[in-house]
């Protein structure tokens, strides 16, 4: 999973600590999120998307989606 969090956070002039405070998590969690090493809960993803004023889809990019098949 890739994320545009760092870019969008910079656009909003927010530090990791400020974003962490707004979405009520620790700064380390934001750090791991930006590195793409942590998969957030839906609530946290939603909260971050609201703060950064984007849709969740625009915030997190899932790779290798073409390899997956879903039941219709």
């Amino acid at each position: 999973m890739k994320t545009r969090m760092k870019e969008l956070r910079a656009r909003h002039n927010l530090t990791q600590a400020q974003l962490a405070e707004k979405v009520e998590v620790r700064r380390e969690t934001i750090l791991f999120l930006e590195k793409g090493k942590y998969n957030p809960s839906l609530k946290l993803a939603h909260d971050i998307a609201v703060v950064l004023e984007v849709k969740i889809d625009d915030l997190f990019i899932f790779e290798d989606e073409s390899d997956k098949t879903y039941l219709s």
Partner: protein
């Protein structure tokens, strides 16, 4: 209504609980090694175990993120560490039971206590530190 936003006070509380956890664990590990080697209790060791256990118990839920500040990653990592620690300790106790049953070696109660405390505390700390450094559990367990 309670304000759930983590404050600087909460962050300091988390750091204090982490310190308390490490000191308590160190006391428990040192006393458990003593018990394993010398196989007997004395007043100093009993008090060290008691204080260490109190520190561990008080700071445990703060350390794994279940008390303020509630952080979902800390809870996730801490819960998995506690689960694995419990599981490994149970397996170790079963191993001790079998080894005591099928071999001539007899364990002293103080030695057994030391062994169980050592495995429980060390696995909890090592696993929590390991998972925390990884960032998440997905990479480790391919969830």
């Amino acid at each position: 209504m309670e304000n759930d936003k983590p404050s600087e006070k909460d962050d300091n509380q988390y750091k204090a609980s982490r310190g308390l956890m490490w000191i308590g664990s160190a006391m428990l590990l040192v006393s458990s090694v003593y018990l394993i080697i010398w196989k007997t209790f004395n007043d100093t060791i009993a008090i060290t175990v008691l204080i260490g256990a109190m520190m561990f118990i008080i700071s445990f839920f703060f350390y794994i993120g279940m008390e303020r500040p509630k952080d979902e990653r800390l809870i996730k990592v801490g819960t998995m560490s506690a689960t694995w620690s419990w599981y490994i300790t149970l397996m170790f106790m079963c191993f001790l039971l079998f080894s005591g049953f099928y071999t001539p070696r007899q364990f002293q109660p103080a030695e057994l206590f030391g062994l169980v405390i050592f495995v429980m505390v060390s696995t909890m700390l090592v696993l929590n530190t390991y998972f925390n450094r990884k960032g998440d559990l997905e990479e480790t367990f391919h969830l």
